[in-house]
């Protein structure tokens, strides 16, 4: 048995754990669907087999990580991950409320904040520029059915 700490930090262990959990979840939920027979496969057959297979592969990875931990995952860039993801989620939530222009300005500002080189004046200029440009290209020229000004702004 190798060093448990090294195992718990290893890439193999974490990928194995993810595959194991997702595989079990797919196989488990798959039990709700009719299984059928090998000749007439029901909707539950394929996912159950694949889910089981994924769980087995995940387990092999975990065992391998226990025997030989391999490289560790290292630090995750949480703040960048959260900011970039948040910028998309905010865009989706506020698109109809703020309109395309407002939602885009928010998207650009929040995501740009993730960079080490973030500067307010640059980011603001970029945000306004992209919002204006996208409004012209996507809404006026390509005719996408998105309001430029949303319901909160009286659009």
């Amino acid at each position: 048995m190798a060093d448990i700490k090294a195992t718990a930090a290893s890439k193999d262990f974490w990928s194995g754990a993810i595959f194991l959990i997702v595989g079990l979840a797919f196989a488990g939920i798959g039990q709700r669907y009719p299984m059928g027979t090998t000749m007439r496969m029901g909707p539950g057959y394929f996912p159950t087999v694949l889910g089981g297979l994924l769980a087995v592969l995940g387990s092999i990875l975990i065992v391998r990580a226990l025997l030989r931990p391999g490289p560790s995952v290292g630090n995750l860039a949480y703040s960048k991950l959260v900011l970039v993801t948040l910028s998309n989620v905010l865009f989706a939530l506020l698109l109809r409320r703020l309109g395309l222009a407002g939602a885009l300005i928010l998207l650009v500002l929040v995501s740009a904040y993730a960079s080490k080189r973030f500067r307010w004046p640059v980011a603001l200029t970029l945000a306004v520029g992209l919002a204006v440009g996208s409004s012209i290209i996507f809404v006026w020229l390509l005719g996408l059915p998105i309001p430029i000004r949303g319901t909160w702004l009286g659009g």
Binding site: T37, P43, L50, L81, T85, L104, L107, R117
Partner: protein
């Protein structure tokens, strides 16, 4: 001759002003985005796909194909100028291409890449015209077991060619197949894994996943490494290769093209393997082998011809069998389905204008690349230098608007964000996203063919071994898998991927 008739239909379809324009737009935009740092062909095609939906099928596919090889060419440009490969298949080009630029011969390197690509593209167009029709005829006789085996082969190949651990690549395939299942089961109408979201009834959109994993996931990974060395671009002086250069590039271009055409036809072969193989072959054969790595023109000519040939040859299985051999081909298949064209061997007979039009347009597109891009190198250089902190918010804007516009749904944007997180995590864990995306598209088709095959054989799984074609395909798949597992080859494979 059937081929000439076919090519005539193709020229007729591709040479309309409308389609020429879309070919040009595709090539131009593809290069433009391919040159920008951090965006490979898969992300570029995914990002621009929504724009193609408003076009008729022929124009849409012509434009998307143009974007693909434009982006590929753009990737080579950044390899040579700034030592940053735009995608995996131009990694080896950096070895000698960037050295050439440091010696002030960037213009010659770019010209060599363009000439090699154009030559490879021309040869490949002829090869496709020669081999696609007979292959499609054979494929018309394929039944469910053959298709299932063929897809197994495609997935096995993508595992063998994935970077890093084989075990993880297999797991990513299975994960992709499972993601592909989400949605309404076509046989029973049962909603699987939709958790009551009506947006999931039609399944997870592959464009959403591709943009999330290749676009957003990549951005987060890039931000993490931000500021590790800035890009310096060398001056471009002369584009024209000297007489000596011409003499030295002929043989490598020929060999690279041959290798690329051959490897590209194999499922999962494609551009990546072709460029690696061409480089190492050239290094062994060439009289100037010792100069490799210090700016040998052969080291640019061979892999650049090979990756273009490979990229183009990978259209053969896509157009004739409806089987994607790379994530980009998977996206093309998705685009065809959205356009109402059922991919498979019947495309050639049912939609000759589409089939031949796309083939001919590839040659025209390569011509555009040669004629238009060389004079525009100055513009590409400036684009290479766009700082990443200004670029990535713009990419996010395009991804968000593009995904939203797929079906005017905020849900897709959330889904894309989720796959962005997954893309980042898998990137950190060294699990390749490409096999997963491939499997996701193949998942529903595979299940369907498996069910039909089982119905045919009354539940006897040995049917895959009793049918000769299916058996032969599975043998090839088994050989591919076994060779990848052999220690000697495994070491070679790891070494090849380490070169980055």
């Amino acid at each position: 001759m059937e081929i000439f008739a076919g090519l005539a239909i193709g020229f007729h379809a591709a040479l309309t002003p409308f389609n020429l324009l879309y070919c040009l737009i595709g090539v131009f935009i593809g290069t433009l985005i391919g040159v920008l740092p951090g965006l490979g062909p898969a992300a570029t095609v995914a990002m621009l796909m929504p724009a193609s939906f408003v076009l008729p099928p022929v124009s849409a596919l012509i434009m998307l194909a143009g974007i693909y090889y434009g982006a590929q060419y753009g990737g080579s440009t950044t390899s040579i100028l700034v030592n940053l490969p735009g995608e995996a298949s131009s990694i080896v080009t950096t070895l000698d291409g960037y050295q050439m630029s440091l010696q002030g011969r960037a213009g010659v390197a770019l010209a060599t890449a363009a000439i090699g690509s154009f030559f490879a593209g021309t040869v490949c167009t002829v090869i496709i015209a020669l081999f696609a029709p007979p292959l499609a005829k054979v494929a018309l006789r394929f039944g469910a077991p053959e298709y299932f085996s063929l897809m197994v082969l495609g997935l096995v190949a993508s595992v063998v060619l994935a970077r890093g651990s084989l075990l993880k690549a297999v797991a990513m395939i299975v994960l992709g197949l499972l993601f592909g299942i989400i949605g309404t089961d076509v046989n029973s109408g049962v909603q699987r894994y939709t958790f009551g979201f009506k947006e999931l009834m039609d399944g997870i959109g592959f464009v959403t996943v591709a943009m999330g994993m290749f676009g957003i996931g990549e951005i987060i990974l890039n931000l993490e490494r931000e500021g590790v060395g800035d890009r310096v671009v060398s001056k471009i002086t002369s584009l024209m290769p000297t007489r000596e250069d011409w003499k030295r590039m002929v043989a490598p271009i020929l060999r690279g093209t041959a290798l690329g055409c051959f490897l590209g036809i194999l499922p999962g072969g494609g551009a990546l393997l072709a460029s690696f193989a061409a480089y190492s072959v050239e290094k062994k054969i060439s009289k100037h082998g010792a100069e490799f790595g210090t700016g040998a023109i052969e080291g640019v000519a061979a892999p650049e011809s090979a990756n273009n040939a490979g990229a183009q040859a990978s259209f053969i299985p896509m157009l004739t069998l409806g089987i994607p051999t790379s994530p980009v081909m998977a996206l093309m298949i998705g685009a065809m389905i959205i356009q109402g064209v059922q991919p498979g061997p019947s495309v050639m007979t049912d939609q000759p204008a589409l089939f031949w039009g796309v083939i001919v347009s590839m040659w025209i597109g390569n011509l555009f690349l040669l004629v238009l891009n060389l004079p525009m190198i100055g513009l590409w250089v400036r684009l290479c230098l766009v700082p990443y902190h200004l670029l990535y918010p713009a990419i996010l804007v395009f991804c968000a608007i593009g995904v939203f516009s797929l079906s005017n749904s905020e849900f897709d944007v959330h889904l894309m964000a989720l796959f962005g997180v997954l893309g980042y995590i898998f990137g950190k864990l060294e699990c390749e996203p490409a096999p997963m995306l491939l499997a996701m598209i193949l998942g529903p088709m595979m299940e369907e063919h498996l069910r039909r095959a089982m119905l045919l054989s009354r539940g006897d799984p040995t049917i895959f071994l009793h049918r000769p074609i299916s058996f032969a395909i599975l043998i090839v798949a088994a050989i591919a898998l076994v060779t990848a597992l052999l220690p000697a080859i495994r070491a070679k494979r790891e070494e090849a991927f380490k070169k980055e």
